[in-house]
């Protein structure tokens, strides 16, 4: 059914749908609406309210088929963040479908110019989690008012207080819990906000960096800033930064739009470097592998990475391998990925292989399921690479190209450093050979051609791949040769033994992978990288892709279509936000997690006598979520005073979670903890204050898209109903309590730069959420280049825009205010964009077939990451590897973990019905299908251990011998679940899905103002295994972590099952 000529019929068909609905509201003239006041809007609401109930008719007049009852927004039940169509009936968001304008939810997507009246009738696909958004939005356990704890942290006893009181207490501090017997002074944010002078912050930042690098002495620094030393955490270590850094934002999920606002608030506004996302408990090492593989050389140094992930172009591929992931569950993400694969399977175009110890729903569709031993993906890949090299099935022409010109000559857009020479030093491969090392020039790389060194300049240069030798007395090997040596360091049978996959299967998959030219690719996600060796597993997957050189080819590895830039940075208009932050502070100092800092470039290196560092440093990665609380507990590199937790749950979601809860519950470690949340969550239960946040469907955002999507896509999240949270007043503006309102209120009290009246410095205020987000919308509407702007909304579309928002209160929607925020000259374009929930490149048939991709990466890939190879492990002092290698699980001190006595290996996974939060089991539609989770185990393994299906078992590990959650001020909770025996599990491995095992989120009783609110037993089902996941023996208070990629180890824990 894939004849090309049929695609053109879409437009014909769209025109055939009658568009007459448009004129039915003749009584409301466009002009009147455009110039509307609050008074008029009130009238409009009334008029429509009446009409709406009168016309909720049937038989061909289905209200949810009408554009006036639709608002496009963006889901966030998982990070795929699908564009959605929210259907409103009587002011209630009742049904969620996929947005048909979105390339992520329909292929081909509706053309941008398609009338919203037509689009209203066409529902695009969306996964069950997205459908159940209605239940996360209208969750009976949502909080709508500000809560202050009325018992110890975690006791789940609260009192309702006013928003203003809460903000005042947080900002001013004091004896905040004296009335419940805690005679402890809590410092307020005003005490932490020490450095307030933008000029001073800039100067100090520069000099503190010089001190860290040893280019300025501490005494010179102290002399220069003798009148300001009180703003520093420790004047003897100015590189720790100002006291401002002791306010930390631990935000779990924060997306673009909100993310930029949050950095504006904390870094430029408050002057703290400590803002974090959750990425290392997700799949950060996979990003870091891509980042280091795509870091571009720049004048003898390494510049910025050019990609953080890529995906197989499953629309055109003939073969795809999924390492520790798939196309049906999790990944990035099912609605966009699944159909491309199933279509390929059905037509016979595509075969897939899924590497996963558990037979996932993706594996159910696979040509080959490889139930690998957890954490040995790199060993499996090394076996494949060995066979591919032995059989010369790699693309020599692609790999030999040493620069852009050579790539071009070879008909490629990207190239690698496979032929570049690496110096072999006494502790292994080190720096890449530069022309200056052999007296042939400057910082250029060098290859060998026919035994002679050739400098890699601008002209096309190709090099020999398999070279090892000595040039001008320097031992060198090509990057390719180093990879080959690693792959050949073990026999195929030895690799097979390590990864637990039969040799024949390794060969079959290697053969298939190299049998489709450029129409093959290998994908990875969480499963392959949430290990202590995660980064190396990631590099191995990338190396596999590089061997066939399918990057930028249709059916190969694709960077995707990308997005237009909401920050205005490309076009520098209409709102170039970076420049619209007057008197911005210059945040500086090592982050609490020591991420993006080298231990060697710190004054602590000298203080502590070099290696080993007291806790690991993470120069390559960021958002090392699991290190935040344990570092605060150790006061390394410094203690913290205030923590804001938002949209994340460290006490539940981080491996070795008991440690996280213990630290969080102790007010002596962090004196002030406040949170923004939509419910009283498992972690926010441990906060001192909880502010209700707006839910996804009530708020704003500009989430970015998956590289799986080939078209340029900019999604725009916007409110679809009046938020359920209480109305508060900030900067004199009535608005709903939300993360943004809390930021604005703190900014108002502390007079943070860049907020309030004229906060943008160009006459525009920043006092309400839309002041920020509609500027992002305006930037998107204009695009990245001149001529990319969307059209102005027509009069009819403007009318529709107003009508579709007739159910919204003025506290959220006020057209005059919105117009002011977006800029008068942008407003009609913004309406056009909001009427579609974003903008997408139109489909063209060029996205299909063979040859090069429409949107290309077109840059260097590093098969050898010099940047990594030259860095030393902060505890062992040993070098990291520049090439993918296989290594077993190790602790922070670099010691191999041996938990003999614990015979099973534990892994976790996500069900398609569940996301990171919300969804299962709290969305009742979803939990009606999957009411609880299980301990999944192979039938035979279970039988050997004396378990049968349905038995209850407790999971224990070497660091959690009692198999219990220890929840301070709440008691304990066994890690106990039902055994489910299946054939689709690797013997010796047990799997427990995420999603279940809650004590918060409505799972237990809550006391508010002395009244008991009963918990819902449906929300307390199942188990969460994070308490038993391995504590790092070298750290004692945190899980194990990948020292390069920063990923927390979810799958390296050995466990035992006990009868329960």
């Amino acid at each position: 059914m894939a004849e090309k000529d049929k695609s053109c019929k879409i437009s014909e068909m769209l025109e055939s749908i009658p568009q007459k609905e448009v004129t039915r509201r003749g009584l409301l003239k466009a002009g009147a609406l455009l110039g509307s006041s609050a008074f008029l809007m009130g009238k409009v609401e009334k008029a429509f309210g009446l009409l709406a109930s009168a016309e909720a008719a049937t038989g061909g007049d289905y209200p949810l088929a009408k554009a006036e009852n639709v608002i496009y927004s963006v889901c966030l039940q998982c990070h795929t963040a699908c564009p959605i169509k929210v259907k409103i009936l009587d002011g209630v968001a009742v049904k969620i479908d996929g947005n048909p304008y979105s390339a992520q939810n329909m292929i081909p997507n509706l053309k941008q110019k398609t009338s919203p009246h037509v689009a209203a009738k066409i529902d695009a696909k969306i996964c069950p989690k997205g459908q159940a958004g209605v239940q996360s939005l209208y969750d009976p356990y949502r909080i709508v008012k500000v809560l202050k704890r009325k018992g110890p942290r975690g006791s789940n006893k609260w009192e309702v207080i006013s928003f203003d009181q809460a903000i005042d207490e947080i900002v001013n501090g004091g004896y905040l819990f004296k009335h419940i017997g805690e005679n402890r002074y809590v410092p307020g944010l005003k005490d932490i906000y020490a450095l307030r002078d933008p000029k001073l912050s800039k100067a100090m930042a520069k000099d503190a960096k010089a001190v860290a690098k040893g280019k300025m002495s501490v005494s010179d620094f102290k002399k220069k800033y003798k009148n300001h030393l009180d703003v520093l955490i420790d004047p003897n270590h100015p590189d720790l930064g100002p006291k401002n850094n002791q306010f930390v934002l631990q935000f779990g999920r924060i997306e673009h739009g909100r993310k930029e606002l949050w950095k504006r608030f904390l870094a430029g506004g408050f002057g703290s470097v400590n803002y974090y996302e959750h990425t290392t408990i997700c799949e950060q090492s996979h990003h870091i592998a891509y980042k280091e593989a795509t870091r571009q050389p720049k004048g003898g140094k390494w510049g910025k990475p050019k990609s953080e992930h890529m995906k197989p172009d499953a629309l055109n591929a003939e073969f795809a391998i999924y390492f520790g992931t798939g196309f049906v569950e999790a990944n990035f993400g099912p609605p966009n990925m699944a159909e491309k694969v199933t279509e390929g399977l059905q037509t016979g175009r595509l075969k897939v292989c899924v590497v996963d110890p558990r037979m996932s729903k993706s594996a159910a569709k696979a040509w080959k399921w490889l139930p690998v031993k957890p954490g040995t993906d790199a060993a499996l890949i090394m076996g494949m690479i060995r066979w591919i090299i032995e059989n010369k099935r790699y693309d020599e022409r692609f790999l030999s190209a040493a620069n852009k010109a050579a790539a071009k000559a070879a008909g490629e857009s990207s190239w690698t450093n496979a032929a570049h020479l690496v110096k072999i030093e006494k502790d292994g491969p080190g720096a890449l050979l530069r022309a200056k090392d052999i007296g042939m020039g400057g910082d250029e790389f060098v290859v060998v051609k026919n035994g002679e060194p050739v400098v890699v300049g601008k002209d096309a240069v190709t090099g020999d791949l398999d070279y090892s030798g000595t040039i001008k007395g320097i031992r060198v090997k090509t990057a390719f040769r180093i990879l080959k040596d690693e792959a050949f360091s073990k026999s195929l049978s030895e690799w097979s033994e390590i990864c637990g996959i039969p040799e024949n299967d390794i060969i079959d998959v290697a053969r298939e992978f190299t049998a489709h030219g450029k129409k093959a690719a290998a994908d990875m996600y969480r499963g392959a990288v949430q290990h202590t060796n995660g980064y190396y597993n990631g590099q191995a997957v990338i190396a596999l892709n590089l061997l066939i050189g399918s990057i930028d080819h249709k059916g190969g590895l694709s960077k995707g279509g990308g997005h237009w830039h909401e920050d205005g940075g490309k076009l520098k208009k209409p709102f170039y936000l970076k420049k619209l932050h007057p008197n911005k502070l210059h945040a500086f100092g090592h982050k609490l997690t020591r991420e993006k800092s080298r231990y060697e470039d710190s004054t602590l290196f000298k203080r502590d006598g070099g290696y080993p560092a007291r806790r690991p440093w993470f120069p390559f990665t960021g958002n090392v979520y699991q290190e935040i609380l344990p570092s605060a507990a150790d006061g390394y590199p410094y203690p913290i005073k205030a923590l804001w937790i938002h949209k994340g749950t460290p006490a539940l979601s981080i491996p070795a979670a008991n440690e996280q809860a213990r630290i969080l519950a102790d007010p002596n470690i962090i004196p002030l903890v406040f949170a923004t949340d939509i419910v009283i969550g498992d972690t926010t239960m441990y906060a001192d204050y909880i502010f209700p946040d707006t839910a996804i469907w009530e708020r704003w955002g500009t989430p970015h898209t998956s590289p799986d999507v080939l078209q340029v896509s900019s999604k725009f999240r916007q409110p679809t109903i009046t938020p359920l949270t209480e109305v508060v007043e900030v900067f004199g503006e009535k608005q709903h309590c939300s993360m943004e309102a809390v930021m604005f209120a703190i900014a108002e009290r502390l007079k943070l730069p860049g907020f309030g009246k004229n906060g943008f410095g160009n006459g525009y205020d920043l006092t309400r959420p839309e002041d920020w987000y509609l500027k992002l919308a305006a930037n998107l509407a204009w695009g990245d280049k001149p001529g990319q702007e969307v059209p102005d909304a027509s009069r009819d579309e403007i009318k529709l825009f107003m009508r579709a928002r007739r159910h919204m209160a003025k506290t959220v929607f006020d057209p005059e205010r919105w117009e002011r925020a977006a800029g008068k000259e942008n407003w009609r374009k913004v309406i056009y964009l909001l009427n579609r929930g974003g903008r997408w490149e139109d489909w063209k048939d060029d996205f299909l077939g063979s040859g090069m991709q429409v949107h290309r990466f077109g840059k260097q890939f590093n098969i050898y990451a010099e940047h990594v190879a030259l860095q030393r492990h902060s505890l062992t002092g040993k070098r990291f590897s520049g090439i993918a290698i296989y290594e077993p699980p190790k602790d922070a001190a670099g010691r191999v973990i041996d938990d003999s006595g614990y015979p099973l290996q534990l892994i976790t996974y996500k069900d398609i019905l569940g996301g990171q939060s919300r969804t299962l089991p709290t969305d009742y539609w979803l939990s009606s299908i999957l009411p609880e989770n299980y301990i999944l185990i192979n039938t035979e393994t279970a039988a050997k251990l004396g378990f049968k299906d349905g038995d209850k078992a407790k999971i224990i590990s070497a660091s959690c011998r009692d198999g219990k959650w220890h929840l301070p001020n709440r008691g304990t909770k066994g890690v106990i679940g039902k055994i489910k025996t299946v054939e689709g599990m690797r013997p010796g491995v047990v799997a427990v899905s995420w999603h279940y095992g809650h004590w918060g989120y409505g799972a237990s009783d809550t006391v508010i103002d002395g009244k008991v609110i009963k918990g819902d037993p449906r929300r307390a089902t199942g188990l969460c295994p994070n308490a038993v996941l391995r504590v790092d023996p070298a750290l004692g208070n945190a899980c194990m972590t990948d020292p390069i990629g920063g990923s927390s180890s979810f799958y390296d824990t050995k466990v035992k099952l006990l009868k329960a």
């Binding site: 019929k9 009742v94 696909k125 069950p128 239940q135």
Partner: protein
Amino acid sequence: MAVNEIVRMYEDLNRALKKPVEKRSWVMVIDVRRCVGDHACAVSCMAENVCPPGTSYRWVFETEYQNYPKLDRFFMPANCQHCDNPPCLKAANRHKRGAITKRPDGIVVFDYEKLSRSSSAMDAAKKACPYYAIVDDRGDYYTENTPKLEPYETRTFFEYDRKLNRKKTKGTIRKCHFCLHRLESGMIPACVSTCIGRAMYFGDLNDPRSLVSELIRKEKTLRLKEAEGTKPRVYYIGFKDRANISISTPATCQVCHQ
């Protein structure tokens, strides 16, 4: 895949709507090779039709077949088969005349008032249906006994040309109606449009140009329990081709259907 099957089905549907109702013949086609077991269809149905707690007009079964490491994992979606010879109709109408009717376009219609007045008709219908497609509406809510009865449960919804709410459907039996309210507004059924694997198709079998006609013509089809003479309007495809992809065989079906 250059052709957007969703849009094609909308096109088919709108063509059919131009014909009188008796000239339309609605059928559903399910390609089991493309079902990924994600349950989006089931949840979409719950939301669209405000199904009673714990039920959906559409469900997806799954099973394993054979042993580690060479096994199949198989997903099987089903719903009311809108039989042309519906056992539920005959059984129920014996107790309550006109409680269940058959529309000229093929949809089997439940009259909620009539049914709710005759528990014997409801019991007979449930017992007669060989597909377990009928659910009870006991009038309970997901969010009763929680802090708040939520508005998505008490809202108006639309079935069989009727404006309904859960108070009105309490005490009756319910099932898939091929989203008749959507069809008549030019929209394909909710389960079909939301399928992330594109395993489902819907349209007019009387129209040789429709996608469903094309699929039924080209592919080997199977209908559930055809031997019972029910003449179902749901066609399954994809049961034979094991060349490239791990899919079911009738042997797998026997895991559930002895």
